[in-house]
């Protein structure tokens, strides 16, 4: 557990890539907002608000495949890169800048878009 204080306009160390299972996700709580941090099979990291654009399903609980996650509630498939629904569905969830420094994951809490 990494209990941290919020520091605006800065990148935050939230943990190590090894804390997240391959093709899995963990959450970062920022006050009322939950951010899902995803790790793909090829060790890329993405961060999205943990809310499906459809019915607010927790995307962190979905199955990660390729560059997408399938929402556990109604099987919408969301792009990890853009937060947009793929296929015929329309909608977009907020995404956050995230970067890897060695094994360390840095998340920018302020630039959610």
């Amino acid at each position: 557990m990494n209990a941290l204080t919020r520091d605006s306009n800065a990148w935050h160390l939230v943990g190590s890539i090894d804390d997240i299972p391959s093709q899995g996700a963990r959450c970062v709580e920022n006050g009322e907002t939950k951010i899902a941090v995803f790790r793909t099979a090829d060790d890329r990291i993405f961060a999205l608000e943990d809310k499906c654009p459809h019915k607010n399903g927790p995307l962190s609980q979905g199955i990660v495949h390729g560059g997408c996650v399938t929402c556990p509630l109604h099987n919408w498939v969301i792009s990890l890169e853009t937060g947009a629904a793929t296929g015929a569905d329309e909608g977009r969830t907020a995404s956050f800048p995230v970067r890897l420094d060695g094994r360390d994951i840095y998340l920018n809490l302020e630039q959610g878009a």
């Binding site: 557990m1 204080t5 006050g31 609980q61 979905g62 199955i63 390729g66 399938t70």
Partner: protein
């Protein structure tokens, strides 16, 4: 292996069809020899009437020409009547002395026409209506003109009468009964038919009893019982057929009305089969072609190898093959106190239809004139569905049943309005699907599902959606077998087969060797592959948590708000004060908002926060409660009634047996969820007859049923069999579960699997063949040693702890740690 010798006596339509099936199933199993009393190849006997009327020639109705016999190496002895069978030496002898030895013999001697033994019945000019020789005789008589008297106003007699009329003869039909075709038509339709024939110049006399056929060297007339004499140069007797059983009787086979066979078409001699009009199966003999073809299929399967195929009686519709006369009848249309009639008459059009109902189900139909709906009524009859909802419009036919699609789905769908709902689950109407196809240029079912959601849920409307696509896209829409997902063109069956055949033991191995089109699969194929590998390689394959749906990963059921529900196991639905106290304490301690009793006799704790799950489980574990797997594609519940322990009707200890079953079966992963029930008597309080596997206790033992469903689809179970002991019940339930585990497609419930592989196949493997049952049982027991671990206690002790804790928490207040959880 050298070929066996198959000898067939008779060369009619039934043995012809038998050979077609046999050559398909086991092309090289037999050397075939046929003895045919007729000097011909095999022809379509039911098309004799069009030959008689001149609408077809003999060549038109040949089924198998000479080339076919050559191609299959069949020795055909034409015009060679069999005179003897030596069942000890296994040899058949023909009239001219030809012999043939056999390993298997098929007797298909057909039937002979019944000739009423009135004086003069042997005069030249008296014919039956049975084979091509009879047709030739009638045509010769017709060329001389004069009057033909047809005795018998049934199907064959009327076809003969119409044929002779069209060949220019005057024709009189004599019929003993008060109305024509009384076995297929009710009096009203018989009357309309008589009027129609009379309008064509055919004289019809009903209630006419033939006393004698008159003449010296040849036929001159017919005398009736009432003294009437009718001149005739030709008399055709068409009063019925008799199975030809003389040969079979002579050689000591069991003979009743026909040559008696079991449901496999085997006679009392296991090496001798019989089929066709000469065979009597389950007490019935048949003269229409559909059941004869069914016999042929059954017999062919048994000749090809061990088989469970069995003949089953079905109502066969009757149609009269007389050009311009349309009638159709099927089923039972006798009068009775328990029946209801619905009748529609249109005198101007000369049409009549009558549908006979019993208990709101169609049991028979008679149509005259407009017969287009005959097939639809026959479908309703066969399906036995309750028609009370369409009672008012039933008689008007299918076109008046908005949205019904039984007979011709394309036509029925074409008739639907744009507002008609196609997909009930997702509320998608026809117009929306058509518009999506047109606007977005969709061409595959997958695309239509993605854009409209039509058939994307329960899938029962898939056929309708495909019909809409076919109508919208025309010929460019070719329905093709869909792969298990977009990552592969292989279906589930192929993938399962190849996993075993190629020894693939990991998800990446499957994707590599089977040429997956995506790099790491998708949310559809990964859970399926994970299951297949887990089921096929017990103890070897390591479960991939990331390929599991969240519920199976965290051992609870996700709810719409992202919280979870927790269901502890209550073996056989039994609980205790200690367990209830522990549950109550957990509810208070974790402020769980809702507590609900489930349909499977469990208690559901709803609204548990994900991070609380391990602590909730720890408290429940402490009271001896373990995971109820309410989230699993696995054994969910065994529902029971109180049985003989308490109930005054209970016949066995249903609760005890339910607990034993649940303790034996829990933990194993299956293609889809599995629910059981054990009920203590046929009153069925535990609702065993809609479960995947159900047990109904009776005085003499335990009746086992399976393949029930009570979800999106409602279906009663099918009986497997009755056994004497609890041990047998447990072995059978485990063996069936294992067979399902090995064969089922991911998310395919037991009833769907059973429909796909066949209830007979399952019964044969699980009930009848005890070696096969034992093998499945042992494989199940082996795999259980890796499965029966309580997932809750594993996680309480730290497994997958990352699942239940946030990666990081940022507090609202600077410098305040936002979490009190211990550090990792």
């Amino acid at each position: 292996m050298s070929k066996q010798r198959l000898v067939i006596i008779g060369n009619g339509m039934a043995p012809g069809r038998l050979l077609e099936h046999l050559f398909e199933a086991a092309p090289d199993a037999y050397d075939v020899t046929i003895f045919n009393a007729e000097p011909r190849v095999n022809y379509d006997r039911i098309m004799l009437s069009p030959v008689l009327s001149g609408e077809k020639t003999f060549e038109d109705i040949i089924i198998h020409g000479d080339a076919w016999y050559e191609e299959h190496g069949i020795t055909l002895h034409r015009g060679e009547k069999v005179t003897g069978i030596d069942r000890v030496a296994r040899e058949v002898t023909g009239a001219s002395g030809i012999t043939a030895a056999y390993d298997k013999l098929v007797i298909a001697t057909g039937s002979s026409p019944f000739i009423i033994p009135v004086p003069g019945h042997k005069l030249p000019g008296v014919l039956a209506y049975r084979d091509l020789d009879d047709v030739d005789g009638m045509l010769r008589a017709a060329s001389r003109g004069g009057r033909a008297v047809v005795i018998g106003g049934g199907l064959l007699g009327l076809e003969a009468a119409a044929g002779l009329k069209s060949r220019g003869m005057d024709v009189t039909v004599l019929h003993l009964m008060p109305t024509l075709m009384e076995r297929q038509l009710d009096p009203a339709a018989g009357y309309l038919l008589q009027k129609e024939l009379e309008s064509r110049g055919i004289e019809v006399r009903c209630g006419a009893n033939t006393k004698a056929i008159l003449g010296g060297s040849e036929v001159e007339g017919v005398e009736l019982e009432d003294g009437t004499v009718i001149d005739a140069s030709l008399v055709v007797m068409a009063v019925g057929i008799r199975p030809s059983v003389d040969l079979a009787r002579e050689v000591g086979l069991e003979v009743g009305r026909g040559i008696q066979t079991d449901l496999a078409m085997r006679t009392s001699d296991p090496d001798v089969f019989s089929l066709g009009e000469c065979a009597e199966v389950d007490g019935r003999v048949y003269g229409l072609v559909a059941p004869l073809y069914q016999m042929a299929k059954v017999a062919a399967e048994h000749l090809a190898g061990p088989s469970e195929a069995a003949f089953a009686h079905a109502e066969t519709p009757t149609k009269l093959k007389v050009t311009g006369i349309n009638l159709y009848s099927v089923g039972d249309f006798g009068d009775g106190p328990d029946r209801e009639d619905v009748v529609l008459r249109d005198a101007a059009r000369g049409s009549y239809r009558r549908v006979i109902l019993r208990d709101d189900r169609v049991i028979g139909a008679v149509l005259y004139g407009d017969v287009a709906d005959g097939m639809w009524y026959n479908e309703l009859l066969k399906s036995g569905e309750d028609v009370s909802a369409m009672r008012e419009t039933l008689i008007f036919g299918q076109a008046h049943q908005g949205g019904r699609m039984d007979a011709d789905p394309l036509a029925a769908v074409a008739n639907l309005s744009a507002d008609a709902e196609i997909c009930g689950c997702n509320g998608v109407c026809k117009g929306k699907i058509v518009q999506a196809i047109t606007d977005k240029g969709l061409t595959s079912l997958g695309e239509v599902r993605a854009h409209t959601k039509a058939s994307a849920s329960c899938g029962t409307c898939t056929g309708l959606v495909e019909s809409v696509m076919a109508l919208t896209l025309g010929e460019t829409f070719a329905k093709k077998a869909e792969g298990m997902c977009d990552c592969t063109d292989l279906g589930h069956g192929e993938v399962r087969r190849l996993i075993k055949a190629q020894g693939l033991k990991s998800i990446p191995a499957v994707m590599q060797e089977l040429e997956w089109k995506s790099s790491h699969g998708c949310a559809k194929c990964r859970p399926a592959l994970n299951y297949y590998l887990l089921s096929d390689w017990p103890g070897e394959y390591k479960d991939d948590q990331q390929s599991r749906f969240i519920n199976e990963r965290v051992h609870a059921n996700i709810q719409k708000d992202g919280t979870y529900s927790v269901v502890p196991r209550m073996w056989g639905g039994m609980t205790s004060s200690d367990e209830l106290r522990a549950i109550a304490d957990v509810v208070d301690k974790f402020a769980i908002p809702d507590v609900k009793v489930t349909g499977g006799q469990r208690i559901d704790l709803l609204g548990v926060k994900k991070e609380d799950l391990p602590a909730v489980w720890a408290d429940l574990n402490a009271a001896g409660l373990v995971s109820g797997h309410a989230y699993a594609k696995g054994l969910r519940t065994v529902k029971t009634c109180v049985g003989s322990t308490w109930c005054r009707f209970g016949t066995q200890d249903s609760t005890g047996l339910g607990i034993k079953l649940e303790k034996f079966l829990w933990g194993s992963w299956t293609p889809a969820k599995v629910k059981l029930a054990v009920t203590g008597c046929p009153r069925n309080c535990a609702e065993a007859t809609c479960k995947d596997i159900g047990v109904i206790c009776v005085d003499s033992g335990y009746e086992i049923v399976y393949g029930g469903a009570a979800g999106l689809h409602i279906q009663g179970t099918t009986k497997l069999g009755t056994v004497k002991t609890e041990e047998e019940v447990i072995e059978i339930a485990a063996a069936m579960t294992q067979m399902y585990r090995e064969q089922g497609f991911y998310l395919e419930r037991i009833y769907k699997w059973a429909e796909r592989v066949g209830y007979d196949t399952i019964k044969a493997a699980i009930l009848d063949d005890t070696d096969s049952r034992r093998a499945y049982y042992e494989r199940f027991v082996f795999s259980q040693q890796f499965a029966q671990t309580d997932p809750w206690s594993e996680r309480v002790s730290g497994v997958d702890k990352h699942e239940f804790k946030p990666l990081a928490v940022f507090g609202e207040e600077a410098e305040t740690p936002a979490s009190v959880e211990p550090a990792e």
